[in-house]
C-alpha cells in the first residue's frame, strides 16, 4: 500500500493529516494453512521496536510476514530473540521489551503476557507449572509460573567477577533434574541449575563465549564457543565445539577452529545425530564420525569481511535446513531452505534480522 502524499504550500486550516490511527488496524490473516510450519523470529533493530514474527507454511511453501501485527493490530515489540511452543501456545521472548508474549499458534492472537524482565533471552519449560527465563543483564534466571503468567522467583547467577558483567545466561537444556545454561557475553562458563532447588549448583569451564548448545541422542551436551575476537578485553582464543558428558561434566571431545572464526547457532537434527552450525558458511558434523566439522553450504558473501548468515534452524521432522540471511541488517531478510542433502528447496523474504526458528506441528 504505497502512499505517496506530497504537500505543496496549501496553507492553513488543514485538519489532522497524519493518519497515525490507520497504522493500528488488524491486517489480512493467513488462511488454509497446513498443520506444519515454522515461525521465523525477526529481531528487528534495537530500540526501533520493529521486531516481527513471520510464519512459513512448510507444505504449501508460503510465507506470511508480520503475522502478529496483522492478527492483533499492534507491533510485537523490541528485539525478539526466541520462541517456544507448548500446548498450542507460543511464547515469544522480547529482549528489548522486557516481556514474553503468549500467542495462539494457529490464529497468532495475543493470549497473555509475562512482564517484569530486565533483558530476557530464552524460555525453558521445566514442567507445566514452572519455567525458567534466562537474562542478559539481570544476573539472575527468572522462575515463572506459565499458568499464572507471573515471575515467582529468581535464581541468582551473580558472579562478582571484577571488570566484566557476569553471568549473562542464554540457552537452556535439561538433563534429568539439572538445567544447563551457557554464559556467552564476556564469559566462559556453562552453569548447572538444580531445577528442584531452583539454585545454581555447579559450573563447567569452557572456551570463551559459549554461544549455543544442543543435546544429542545419547544425552551428551554439545557446546559451541566463539572464542571472542581480537580486541575483546575478556578473551581471544580459538573457537571450539565441545562434547560434554552431562553427568560427569567432563569434556569428552573437542574440535578447535581458528582464532578468527566466530561460529554460532549450533543446531541438531530431530534424530539427534547430525550437528549444524554457522561459521560464515554452514558447517555440518555427523556425531560419532571420524573427522571434523566441514563446510556444507557455502555463504554467497564469499570472503567479504561483513555479512554472512545470521540464523539457522533444523526441521525436527524432516531435517530440512533453514538458513537466515540478514543482508545489511536494515532491510527485509531472506531465508534459504535446503533439503538434508544440501539441495536448495525454497527462498523467501521475511522481516528484519531473522535470527531464530520455531517449528510448529
Amino acid at each position: 500500500m504505497m502512499k505517496k502524499l506530497f504537500l505543496l504550500f496549501l496553507p492553513l486550516l488543514l485538519t489532522a493529516c497524519m493518519k497515525d490511527d490507520e497504522l493500528w488496524k488488524k491486517g489480512p490473516q493467513p488462511y488454509g494453512q497446513s498443520p506444519s510450519g515454522v515461525f521465523i523470529i525477526n529481531e528487528g533493530n534495537f530500540m526501533f521496536e520493529n521486531a516481527s514474527l513471520s510464519y512459513y507454511d512448510i507444505k504449501n511453501r508460503q510465507v506470511y510476514n508480520d503475522v502478529f501485527f496483522n492478527a492483533n493490530g499492534m507491533p510485537l515489540g523490541d528485539v525478539a530473540i526466541s520462541m517456544e511452543i507448548r500446548d498450542s501456545l507460543g511464547y515469544v521472548v522480547l529482549n528489548g521489551s522486557g516481556r514474553i508474549y503468549v500467542i495462539d499458534i494457529r490464529s497468532f492472537e495475543l493470549k497473555g503476557k509475562i512482564t517484569g524482565f530486565t533483558s530476557p533471552r530464552y524460555l525453558h519449560f521445566v514442567n507445566d507449572k514452572k519455567a525458567y527465563v534466562s537474562d542478559l543483564y539481570a544476573r539472575a534466571v527468572s522462575v515463572v509460573d506459565p499458568e499464572l503468567q507471573l515471575i515467582t522467583a529468581g535464581i541468582d547467577v551473580n558472579n562478582n567477577f571484577p571488570g566484566f558483567y557476569q553471568h549473562p545466561t542464554e540457552q537452556m537444556l535439561q538433563h534429568g533434574r539439572f538445567v544447563f545454561t551457557n554464559c556467552w557475553s564476556f564469559d566462559n562458563k556453562v552453569l548447572v541449575i538444580d531445577s528442584e532447588l531452583d539454585r545454581v549448583v555447579d559450573s563447567i569451564l569452557v572456551p570463551a563465549q559459549p554461544q549455543s548448545m544442543v543435546a544429542d541422542r545419547h544425552g551428551s551436551l554439545w557446546v559451541l564457543s566463539d572464542g571472542g575476537f581480537e580486541g575483546n578485553p575478556f578473551a581471544h582464543e580459538r573457537a571450539a565445539l565441545l562434547r560434554i558428558n552431562a553427568d560427569t561434566y567432563e569434556v569428552e571431545e573437542s574440535y578447535l577452529m581458528g582464532l578468527d572464526d566466530m561460529p554460532s547457532e549450533l543446531g541438531i537434527t530431530g534424530g539427534g545425530d547430525t550437528l549444524y552450525f554457522l561459521n560464515r558458511h554452514v558447517f555440518r558434523f555427523v556425531i560419532n564420525s571420524s573427522g571434523s566439522p566441514e563446510v556444507f553450504i557455502e555463504s554467497p558473501y564469499g570472503n567479504q569481511s561483513s555479512g554472512g548468515f545470521y540464523g539457522l534452524g533444523i526441521d525436527p521432522a524432516n531435517s530440512d535446513i533453514y538458513v537466515a540471511d540478514a543482508i545489511d541488517f536494515v532491510q527485509a531478510g531472506i531465508v534459504y531452505r535446503f533439503r538434508p542433502d544440501g539441495m536448495p528447496a525454497d527462498t523467501f523474504r521475511v522481516g528484519i534480522i531473522p535470527g531464530s526458528f520455531c517449528f510448529r506441528y
Binding site: 504550500f9 530500540m47 522486557g98 508474549y101 517484569g116 532491510q331
Partner: protein, 666 residues
C-alpha cells in the same frame, strides 16, 4: 502545564495595555533587508554559491528554540529528531549527518569523534546570525561539507551603551526556560554576557501502541495511556563576548561558550521490564573558545583566528540487580580537545579582481573509554588546509570564482578539491542572478570510524564527491513590498560513502561501501511589506531530494540498490505567515515531509514506514513599552491540531502543547 485560565488573563491584560509605539525591531529590520539584498546577491567572493540567511527577526523570536527547530521550520535542511530535547541530526540535500559542517564564528564545531553535530544542544538564544551555504559553497571555509554548511555566529552592536534583557518561558510538560543578557560598552569596546537555563520534564502522555493490556475476563486487548517518563532534559550555560575596535581598521573578538546538558534517553515504549532497569543518563559538557583578530585596509582584509573546542561526553546505562543495587552495563566517557587556528588574507588588486589565501592548522585529540566493556581508544589527528581563490568580475555582469583547497591529514595530502563558480546577471542593474558551479569535495573518516573499539577500521578511505548546481535568484521591491524568489537544481555523486555494517564477528564495522547519488530541486519565495498599518511576511521553502544508494549489491537479494536512503524524505517544505499591527503579531508555521523509509530496501510495511508528516504551529504576541522598558509577551501553540504522530519509529511525540514567553529589555 500552567492553567489555561491564567494564560488567558495574561494575554488579555497585555492586549489591553496601550501600545506606546511600534516595536523597534520591525521597522529597522525591514529597512536593512531592502538595502542589502540586491548587492549581496552578486558578490564575486560567492560566485556560484547558494547562500541563505535566516531572518534576524525569526532568530530573535525563536530565542527559546534550539537550532534543530529553527532549521526545520525555516530551511530545506531535513532534521531527524528523536524527540524534544533529544539528539537531532541534519541531512542537507540527502547527505549523511557528518556531511553538514557547522561553524560557530568561523570555527568548525563538528565532533572529531563522529563527525556530526547534535543540533538540539545549540540554543538559538545564543545566536545572532545563521547562514546556510549549500553544497560545495561550503568549500570557502573548509572541506567535508558535502551537503553544505551551517554558519552560526555572534555579531557586535557598536551603538550599544548598556542593556539588560531577560526572557522567561513556561511551557507544557513542566518546561521552564530562563535567559539573561547583559551588554555594556562604547564605540571602542563592547561586552555581552548571556546566561541561560532550560529544563523540561518532558512527561507528555500518549496512547502506547507497544503495550497490550489484556482483559482477564474477555481477552480483549487495549492499549494503555502512558507517560513519557525518564525523558527529562536540562541545559545551562554561558556565552561571554568581548569586542575591541582600534582605529576603525582592527577588530579583536573574544568569545567563550560553555554549556552543560543532561538528558536521558527514554526506554523503548514497549518496555515492560522492572522500573529500575535500563536507566540511563547522558551528559554533554561543551567548552568553546574563539579569539580572532580582523583587520582591513583599503585593499586587503586579514583574519587571524585561534580557538579551542572541548567536549566531555558521559553516558551510562544501569540495571538494578537484586542484592547489588544499581550496576552499570555501560559506563562510557569521551573526552575531546581540539585546537583550531586559521590565518586568511584577502587582497583586492582592483575593484574587479581579488585573491584570497588561507591556512588552517588544527589539532584534535579524542580519548574514549567504556569501563564496563573495557574498550576505548586514545587518538589524535593533525589537520592542515591550504586554500587559494581567485575572483574576477567582468563588466559588472559576470562573476567568476575559482577556488582550490588542499588538505593534509596527519601531514599526508588528500586529493585536492577544486571549485569553479559563476554568477551571471542577465539584466544590468536588476537583482536577478543566475548561478552555477562545479566542484569536488571529500569527507575524511571520523576518529570513531577509524578507531572505535571494537570495529573501527583504520583502512577506511575518504568519501569523495563531485557536485554541480544551477540556480537563479531574483529580488524586487515595489512600493513598501519586497519579493525574493529562488530556485536551484543540484546533483552530487559521492563514492566510498561510509556505512556501518555488522561483521560476522558480532560487532559492527564501517566500510566504504556505497555510491550515493543525490539530486534535486530547492525553491523558496519570500514576500514582506506592509498593507496600510499591517506588516506582513510570508516565507516558503520546498525541496525535492532524490538520494539513492548505487553501491554494489552485497549479495543476490540485496534490495538496497537504487533505493532512497533511510530517513531522507523525497519532498519537504515549510511555510511561515506573519502579521504585525501596532505591536501585536501573529505567526502561523507549517512544516511537512513526505514519507520516509526506515529500511534500506524501502520496505513499506506498517512496521517499517513513516507516514508523511504535517506539523502546524501558531503563535501570537504583543510587544509594548512601559517607561524605559521594552516588553513582549508571546504565546505559542505547538502541534495546533493535536495530531498523534511519531517521527522516528515508535517514538511517540507530544500532542498539542503550549509555551508562554515573557521578555523584558532595558
Amino acid at each position: 502545564m500552567p492553567s489555561a485560565r491564567i494564560i488567558f488573563f495574561c494575554i488579555l491584560a497585555c492586549l489591553l495595555l496601550p501600545a506606546h509605539a511600534q516595536p523597534v525591531e520591525d521597522s529597522v529590520f525591514l529597512l536593512k533587508t531592502v538595502e542589502i539584498t540586491g548587492d549581496r546577491m552578486f558578490e564575486k567572493q560567492s560566485a556560484g554559491m547558494k547562500r541563505s540567511s535566516i531572518d534576524t527577526l525569526v532568530i530573535i523570536r525563536g530565542a527559546h528554540l534550539d537550532l534543530a527547530d529553527l532549521l526545520s521550520e525555516n530551511t530545506p535542511v531535513f532534521i531527524k529528531s528523536l524527540g524534544r530535547g533529544a539528539l537531532a541530526t541534519a541531512s542537507f540535500r540527502g547527505t549523511a549527518p557528518s556531511h553538514t559542517t557547522v561553524r560557530w564564528n568561523g570555527m568548525e564545531i563538528n565532533s572529531p569523534m563522529n563527525g556530526m553535530v547534535d543540533f538540539s544542544l545549540i540554543p538559538v538564544y545564543l545566536l545572532d546570525e545563521v547562514e546556510l551555504k549549500f553544497g560545495a559553497a561550503s568549500l570557502g571555509e573548509g572541506s567535508g561539507g558535502m551537503g553544505g554548511s551551517i554558519n552560526i555566529g555572534n555579531t557586535v552592536d557598536w551603538e550599544n551603551t548598556f542593556g539588560v534583557k531577560y526572557l522567561q518561558g513556561i511551557g507544557s510538560y513542566r518546561t521552564f526556560d530562563e535567559f539573561l543578557q547583559v551588554q555594556a560598552g562604547n564605540s571602542r569596546i563592547q561586552s555581552k554576557t548571556r546566561i541561560y537555563h532550560n529544563y523540561s520534564a518532558n512527561d507528555y502522555t500518549f496512547v502506547n501502541r507497544g503495550i497490550a493490556e489484556i482483559d482477564p475476563v474477555t481477552g480483549a486487548v487495549t492499549n494503555p495511556v502512558d507517560t513519557n517518563s525518564n525523558a527529562a532534559f536540562k541545559r545551562y550555560g554561558l556565552l561571554q563576548e568581548f569586542y575591541y575596535r582600534a582605529g576603525g581598521r582592527h577588530v579583536v573578538s573574544a568569545r567563550w561558550w560553555i554549556q552543560e546538558a543532561e538528558r536521558t534517553i527514554p526506554r523503548a515504549t514497549s518496555y515492560e521490564g522492572p522500573d529500575h532497569s535500563n536507566l540511563n543518563r547522558q551528559t554533554d559538557l561543551d567548552n568553546r573558545l574563539s579569539l580572532d583578530w580582523k583587520s582591513h585596509g583599503r585593499k586587503h582584509r586579514m583574519t587571524l583566528r585561534t580557538g579551542y573546542t572541548g567536549k566531555k561526553l558521559n553516558y551510562w546505562l544501569k540495571n538494578h540487580v537484586g542484592g547489588l543495587g544499581e550496576v552499570p552495563v555501560i559506563y562510557s566517557t569521551g573526552k575531546q580537545n581540539s585546537f583550531l587556528n586559521k590565518l586568511s588574507f584577502d587582497y583586492h588588486f582592483r575593484g574587479d579582481l581579488s585573491l584570497e589565501a588561507s591556512l588552517d592548522a588544527d589539532y584534535h585529540h579524542v580519548a574514549t573509554r567504556d569501563t564496563v566493556a573495557g574498550a576505548g581508544y586514545d587518538k589524535d589527528r593533525i589537520a592542515n588546509s591550504l586554500f587559494v581563490a581567485v575572483r574576477k568580475s567582468f563588466f559588472g555582469r559576470l562573476n567568476l570564482n575559482i577556488m582550490l583547497r588542499q588538505d593534509l591529514i596527519d601531514f599526508r595530502a588528500v586529493a585536492p578539491v577544486p571549485y569553479i563558480g559563476l554568477d551571471y546577471r542577465p539584466l544590468p542593474g536588476k537583482a536577478w542572478v543566475v548561478r552555477t558551479h562545479i566542484a569536488r569535495n571529500y569527507h575524511y573518516p571520523s576518529l570513531n570510524d577509524l578507531y572505535w573499539e571494537p570495529g573501527g577500521n583504520p583502512d577506511l578511505q575518504a568519501e569523495k564527491g563531485h557536485s554541480a548546481e544551477l540556480g537563479t535568484e531574483y529580488s524586487h521591491s515595489f512600493g513598501s513590498h519586497l519579493l525574493f524568489a529562488g530556485a536551484t537544481g543540484f546533483y552530487s555523486r559521492i563514492r566510498d560513502w561510509i556505512i556501518w555494517l555488522p561483521d560476522y564477528k558480532g560487532y559492527w564495522i564501517p566500510l566504504n561501501i556505497s555510491l550515493v547519488e543525490t539530486k534535486g530541486l530547492e525553491a523558496e519565495i519570500r514576500v514582506q511589506g506592509s498593507l496600510g498599518k499591517v506588516g506582513y511576511r510570508v516565507a516558503a521553502t520546498y525541496a525535492c531530494t532524490d538520494s539513492r544508494n548505487f553501491g554494489d549489491p552485497r549479495v543476490w537479494g540485496d534490495e538496497s540498490y537504487g533505493k532512497q536512503l533511510v530517513y531522507v524524505p523525497r519532498h519537504s517544505g515549510n511555510l511561515m505567515l506573519n502579521l504585525s499591527w501596532h505591536g501585536f503579531y501573529a505567526t502561523y508555521r507549517h512544516n511537512s515531509y513526505s514519507e520516509r523509509f526506515t529500511t534500506s530496501g524501502n520496505d513499506f510495511s506498517r512496521r517499517d514506514w513513516l507516514y508523511p508528516y504535517f506539523m502546524n504551529d501558531l503563535l501570537a504576541g504583543k510587544s509594548f513599552r512601559v517607561k524605559k522598558l521594552d516588553m513582549a509577551v508571546e504565546f505559542t501553540v505547538y502541534n495546533l491540531f493535536d495530531e498523534t504522530y511519531h517521527t522516528v519509529l515508535y517514538r511517540p511525540m507530544p500532542g498539542r502543547n503550549y509555551l508562554l514567553t515573557l521578555m523584558i529589555r532595558y
